[in-house]
Amino acid sequence: MSALLSVKNMSINFDTPRGSLEAVRGVDIEIPAGTSVGVVGESGSGKTVMCRAAMGLLQGSNVKRSGTVIFDGHELTAMSKEEVRNLFGSGMAMIFQDPMTALNPVRRIGSQLSEGLRVRLGMSKADALARSKELLELVRIPNAAAVLKSFPYQLSGGMRQRVMIAIAIACNPKLLFADEPTTALDVTVQAQILQLLRELREDLKMSMVLVTHDLGVVAGNTDYVAVMYAGEVVEYAPTKKLFADMRMPYTEALLESIPKVDHKSGTRLAMIAGRLPDPTDRGAGCSFAPRCKYAQEKCRQEHPELKKDPDGHLYRCWFPIGEAK
C-alpha cells in the first residue's frame, strides 16, 4: 500500500530562554492512502507540533525542523513555502482543537469559508458563497444562509466546529489533519462531530490524521494508531491489534486512565502517576521509565529503539507486555 503522507526521522526543536526544547524526536509515521490514523498521547507529547510541522505551519525564527515529509509524491521539506501552500486546501487541510480561537473573531463565517474557495480554486465571489452554503449543509448546519452571515461568537461550540470542518473540506483535501477536534466540546456534541467526520471521510474519500489524547476516540474512528510520548512514537499498530494486544506499558497506562461506563461510582480512576519529562533535558534511558510500573534498571540506563514484530507492530520498550515477565 502506498503512503499518502510519510514523515521520516522528523525532529522539531524550539529555542527557548531555558535552552533547546525537543518537542519531536525522530518520528517516522506513514499514513496509507484512504486510511485514518490516530495519533494519541498526553498533552505535551508533541502530537500537535508534529502535525503542524508536517504541514509546515510552524512559524517563527526559533523553530528548527529536520527530517523529510513526503505528501502525495511531493517532498514538502524540499519545496518553497509558496509551493507547499499550493497543496493546502485541495491536498491537505487541518481542523483545530478550539473552534472559538481558530475562527477569526471579526470576520463573518461566509467570508472565512469562501476565502479558501476563492484563493485556492479561483471561484467568483458569488460561486464561492453558493458553494459555502452547500458546504454548511454538508456538515449538517441548519439554516445555512443565516450562519453564513454570522460571526463566530454568535454560534454554539458544536456549530463552530462544524463550520471549521466545512472550511477544512471546502477544497476536497486528500488528507485531513484533525487536531483534537472534540476536546473543547460537550460529550454529546463530541459523538456527533466524530460521526460527521466518519461520514465525510467515506463520502469524500479522505485520509485522516486524528490527533487526540483519548484512546476511546481512536477506537471507533481509526485504522491505525500511533502512540506518542515525550516527542517520540512509542507504539504503532493497526487499531484493532493495538487494543487486542498492546505491547507498550505507556499505552496500557493510557487505556487504564479512561473512565469506563461499568466503573462503579466512587472507584478511583487510575491516573498515570508522575508527569512528562522536562522537554529541555531528556535523560539517557527510556523517557517513560520514571512513571512505568514495569521499569527495570536497564530502562533507566539505555534508550530503547523502535522494535518491530513480524506483523508490523512497532513499539519502543525493553520489556514489552506479553513477553516473558
Binding site: 482543537q97 477569526n104 471579526v106
Partner: protein, 321 residues
C-alpha cells in the same frame, strides 16, 4: 432596547464630564485674585465695568456665573474678546481657527496612520529581526524629541537654510492646493513623528499577539498567502487599539498644536487658547477650552461607535456587560 440604553448612558457620562470640565474652568477664573472686569476693561469707567459685570454675571456667585455662561454657550454665544477699541465675537475667531486646526489634525492623523500602519505591520511580521529593530529604535528616538524641537529644526533647515517652504503663516485651500500644503507640511510633520512612533508600537504589539492566535494558523492551513493573512486576518482585529489611540490622541494633538501653531503662526485653535491667556481674555479662554473639551469628548464617542464596526464582538459584549 438595551443597546439604546447603553448609548444613552454613555452620552450621559460624557455630558457630565463636559459639565464638570467647564464648571472647573469657570471656577478657576473666579480664583484669579483680580477683578475680572478690570482686566477686560482696563481703561473703561466704573459704570461701564458695572454693566459688563452684570452682562457676564461676574456679580453673581460662582454657580450663578457658570449657569449664565452655560446658557449663553449653549445658544452659541461664546462671549467677546475685549480691546481698547471695542470687542470681537469669540465665535468669529473660532470660525476662522477651528477649520485650520481641524485640517492640521486631520492631516497629521492621516500622515501618521499612513506611515505607522505599514511600519507596524512590517515590524510585527519581522518581529525580532533586523528590520523590526531598526524601525523600533529609530521611531523610539524620534518620538522622544519634543515636537517643538522638530518644528524648530525644520524651520532652521527646510525653511531657512534651503528655503524650500514658508516658515510662517497659513494659506486656505482657496489660495491653491499647493500653497495650502506648503504651509501645512512642516507643522504636520512636527506633530506626526510622536504619533507615528506610538501607533507603530501599538500596532506591532497587537499584531504580534494576534499572529500567535490559532486563527492565523488556520488561515495559513487554508493556503492563503502571508500578505493576505497579515492584512485580512491579523490587521483588522489588531486595528481596534490603534483606532482608540488615534481618537484619544486628538486631545494631545490640540495641546501640541498650541506650540506648533505659535511657532508657525498658523493661528488655529491652539493659538486662540494661547492668545486668550496672553491677552487675559478669560471669557474667550473659558469658551475655547469648552469647545476643545467638547471635541475631545466627541472623539471619544466616535471611538465607541466605530469600535462596533471593527470588532463585532464589542457590540454585544458591551450591551450584555
Amino acid at each position: 432596547m438595551s443597546r439604546i440604553s447603553f448609548w444613552l448612558q454613555r452620552v450621559a457620562q460624557l455630558l457630565i464630564v463636559l459639565l464638570l470640565v467647564t464648571f472647573g474652568v469657570s471656577l478657576l477664573l473666579r480664583l484669579i485674585p483680580v477683578d475680572l472686569a478690570t482686566i477686560l476693561l482696563p481703561v473703561g469707567t466704573e459704570e461701564e465695568r458695572d454693566i459688563l459685570r452684570n452682562e457676564l454675571g461676574f456679580d453673581k456667585g460662582p454657580i450663578g456665573y457658570y449657569l449664565q455662561w452655560l446658557g449663553n454657550f449653549v445658544q452659541g454665544d461664546f462671549g467677546k474678546i475685549y480691546f481698547s477699541g471695542g470687542t470681537e465675537e469669540v465665535s468669529d475667531h473660532l470660525k476662522v481657527a477651528m477649520p485650520r486646526s481641524l485640517l492640521l489634525m486631520v492631516y497629521t492623523q492621516i500622515l501618521s496612520l499612513a506611515i505607522a500602519i505599514p511600519l507596524g505591520v512590517l515590524s510585527a511580521y519581522r518581529a525580532g529581526r533586523r528590520a523590526d529593530k531598526i524601525i523600533s529604535n529609530t521611531l523610539f528616538t524620534l518620538s522622544s524629541i519634543p515636537n517643538f524641537a522638530i518644528a524648530l529644526l525644520l524651520v532652521i533647515f527646510v525653511g531657512v537654510k534651503f528655503a524650500w517652504l514658508p516658515t510662517l503663516g497659513y494659506a486656505p485651500i482657496s489660495d491653491g492646493v499647493w500653497e495650502h500644503f506648503k504651509h501645512m507640511i512642516m507643522p504636520v510633520i512636527s506633530l506626526s513623528l510622536g504619533l507615528i512612533a506610538t501607533y507603530t508600537r501599538l500596532l506591532r504589539a497587537d499584531m504580534i499577539a494576534a499572529l500567535r492566535e490559532d486563527y492565523v494558523t488556520m488561515a495559513a492551513s487554508k493556503g492563503l498567502s502571508d500578505s493576505r493573512i497579515l492584512w485580512r486576518h491579523v490587521f483588522r482585529p489588531s486595528s481596534m487599539t490603534l483606532l482608540t489611540s488615534a481618537a484619544l490622541s486628538m486631545g494631545g494633538l490640540i495641546g501640541g498644536a498650541i506650540v506648533i501653531e505659535s511657532i508657525f503662526a498658523t493661528y488655529g485653535i491652539g493659538f486662540e487658547v494661547f492668545a486668550a491667556i496672553a491677552g487675559r481674555q478669560y471669557v474667550a479662554l473659558q469658551s475655547t477650552v469648552a469647545v476643545i473639551a467638547l471635541f475631545y469628548v466627541f472623539f471619544n464617542l466616535v471611538v465607541d461607535v466605530s469600535s462596533g464596526f471593527v470588532d463585532p464582538r464589542t457590540r454585544d459584549r458591551r450591551v450584555n456587560a
